[in-house]
Symmetry: C2
Subunit: 428 residues, 2 copies
């Protein structure tokens, strides 16, 4: 049988992992696909660089276009990242009828709709399991496993860096700044951590998941995003005391074809399975109308999980080639995108207010809550020892985002409320 | 496009769910498959029985063979259960080139290897996702998601009834007998609960999972099984005190192509993600060489999750038909089955001993442990208030099953040890 020929763009840690897995599992892969899989060309930035694996020098090249346009090559694996030149590479590869496997979440979040269309037009496959939660086969699960159900909610911890930081803050009572510094030293956070800590990375992944789950082309700009950089030690302590864990959650919901997608630090009840997902682990909870809650848990990133995920996609793409069914994966976004309004987005909220410590304040606050039709699940007031202020913690029942926004505006204008210190969504 | 024609064997709660989902999701299914899916015949035991759904009378029949042999029908869905006549039905359907979707774990555990072979010979599909953990797409995950990795361990809570019982015993301090009775009243346990509580149901599911994960034909007789009927309140209390949850775990392991599969009540460390899986929920933790630990959590059974799972299989089978790739799913058991010996099966153990309350007993016991090369993680002795006996709790480091068996024989022959009260495997 003719071998499947692969061109690999990038030989960093993930690319190296891909080469290793394809070599070490050659026998197993052959049994699954029915023919050999051979990485024939690898694009690197410097062919003379020292590497941790032995690669035949004639396989290495610095010319990506040469590889993309090589008529011998069936599949392009892209692990170089970036969204401009990389997009050109991938578009050209698809237009030439090659299949593409990528781990590039930025690319898929920004141009996923467009790329899927180009692929379909050319009967090419584009697979991207590794772009979201490397160690969890969540994309194939959404595409295949839920084919007979309607997904109503996808909620998850999809960024390992922020989960590591929040876990450490919770377990050690440490501050955000200290834990971030430690995470950077350990290599869990980038020197410029913005994309992770401000929730942008999670937003990209949630856009990808929402599209697959709800069959509608959610734009990255449709995702409402808040990161963890303003989470305080105090917030974490309150969460703990009240039986919650503070987690950066991506939440995508769909009711009657109206969707909302958001990323924000969220108080998760200890009894909820997602509350015990700690450290760099990821978890995605999918709620189906019929199947109820299903949770997928695993490593979010890391070279080996990501490389494994890429090779699993390579196997799927190779099988499709052998079977002559390339480009037929059903991931059509056949529904128009209708976003929920703030009136329609509903959840419980945690509010932490600093107020004047005098009689009648709590009554005033609860009156405002009632006015905006926000009902209380619990309320707690405690005096500050060293000042004439008090803190009030409110947990609401389900309230609309619009009501909470109006309520907070009113709170900000009230004299007895010195400060709205924290506002968090509550789940579970 | 020609519709896919389905014959349904059985119209109990799951069968009814299948009919409802296929009707309600007709539009979505059509978009996914490319043609309509039509249930044309339903086999029931009494066509005149009152039913909760409206079914055209001419669709109902009491003659299963008529449906199996109907040349119009493409796919048989089997939800009648049983393993004798049902097996004949399925063999005939496959031999006639029809595809089969079944939720029948007993059938697949007993005759899976044989049925897969018959299917392959006839280029027919046989899909059985609903046979294990209805609400978790674990079978397709093992088949597709881990195709590029080597699975070394599959560990799970795969029986909801026993997990419900153990959860209640833990949360309420209730006895096994009381909780079983309650579970029977609530319909969570059968009138004859043997298959669940003695671990047989879990063993069947583990045999199915081990075959898929390790590519080897694990026989049901190869599974070592112990149920929960002898678990005491005291065991649960000790587990709690020591930071463990007692769970009925199925554990399948594979090292260098040698496998072991077992089901037994196991102490699971609270910090392990499986420890927080409570009630009727199921969870399966899959460890891949590269990907590390991945856990899948969801409803284990229930009409809707099971029916949803069946329809997802129906979608997959229908897509394969349209694509002309039926019978090509790779689930080959291409490796010979080599079982681990008791010397090779290794884990930590919890031992609860009733001993004479006098000096030197602990020393004697630790000497025996050393003799059998079993090292201690922790040991705890406490006197019984109302007798001159004491209890010793030992948690070992990793020890071979063979060493523990010999050790227990020795313990049983020692005068100072009145009774080996409990022995549990420990995980996490």
């Amino acid at each position: 049988m003719k071998p499947i020929k692969v061109g690999l763009l990038g030989l960093g840690t993930v690319g190296t992992g891909v080469v290793r897995i394809v070599e070490n599992h050659q026998e197993d892969l052959k049994k699954q696909v029915g023919s050999e899989i051979e990485i024939v060309k690898i694009v690197v930035s410097d062919v003379n660089k020292q590497r941790s694996i032995a690669v035949a020098p004639d396989k290495l090249t610095e010319d990506a276009w040469e590889v993309i346009r090589n008529p011998e090559i069936d599949v392009i694996i892209e692990v170089i990242g970036g969204t401009t030149t990389t997009k050109e590479y991938i578009v050209e590869a698809l237009n030439l009828g090659k299949h593409v496997v990528t781990a590039n979440k930025d690319l898929m979040a920004l141009y996923g709709g467009e790329l899927l269309e180009i692929a379909q037009r050319n009967s090419s496959d584009i697979y991207y399991e590794a772009s979201v939660a490397g160690g969890i086969p969540i994309i194939r699960t959404l595409v295949d496993g839920f084919s007979s159900d309607r997904i109503t909610k996808i909620m998850g911890i999809v960024n390992g860096t922020t989960n590591y930081i929040l876990t450490k803050m919770t377990q050690e009572g440490a501050s955000y700044a200290d834990v971030l510094k430690e995470a950077q030293e350990l290599g869990y956070a980038e020197a410029d951590p913005t994309s992770d800590v401000e929730g942008l990375d999670a937003a990209r992944k949630m856009a990808i998941l929402a599209r697959l789950g709800f069959h509608t082309n959610v734009d990255l700009n449709d995702v409402s995003v808040k990161g963890i950089s303003s989470v305080t030690k105090e917030d974490i302590q309150y969460a703990k005391r009240l039986g919650y864990q503070l987690k950066l959650l991506g939440i995508a919901e769909c009711d009657e074809n109206q969707v909302s997608v958001s990323v924000q630090p969220t108080m998760v009840s200890n009894s909820h399975p997602i509350a015990s997902v700690n450290g760099v682990f990821n978890a995605v909870l999918v709620t189906g109308e019929a199947v109820g809650e299903t949770m997928f848990y695993g490593a979010g990133a890391g070279e080996l999980p990501t490389a494994t995920s890429i090779v699993a996609d390579l196997v799927a793409v190779s099988k499709n080639m052998k079977l002559g069914i390339s480009g037929k994966r059903v991931n059509a976004m056949y529904k128009p995108t209708v976003l929920k309004t703030d009136e329609q987005i509903s959840s419980k909220y945690f509010l932490l207010l600093e107020v004047a410590d005098r009689a009648g304040v709590l009554a005033q606050i609860t009156q405002e809550l009632a006015k905006f039709d926000v009902s209380l699940q619990s309320v707690l007031q405690q005096a500050n020892e060293h000042s004439n202020t008090a803190e009030i913690i409110v947990i609401t029942h389900d309230a609309s985002k619009a009501a909470i926004t109006s309520l907070l505006e009113t709170f900000n204008s009230m004299d007895v409320i010195h400060q709205v210190k924290s506002v968090y969504r509550v789940e579970g």
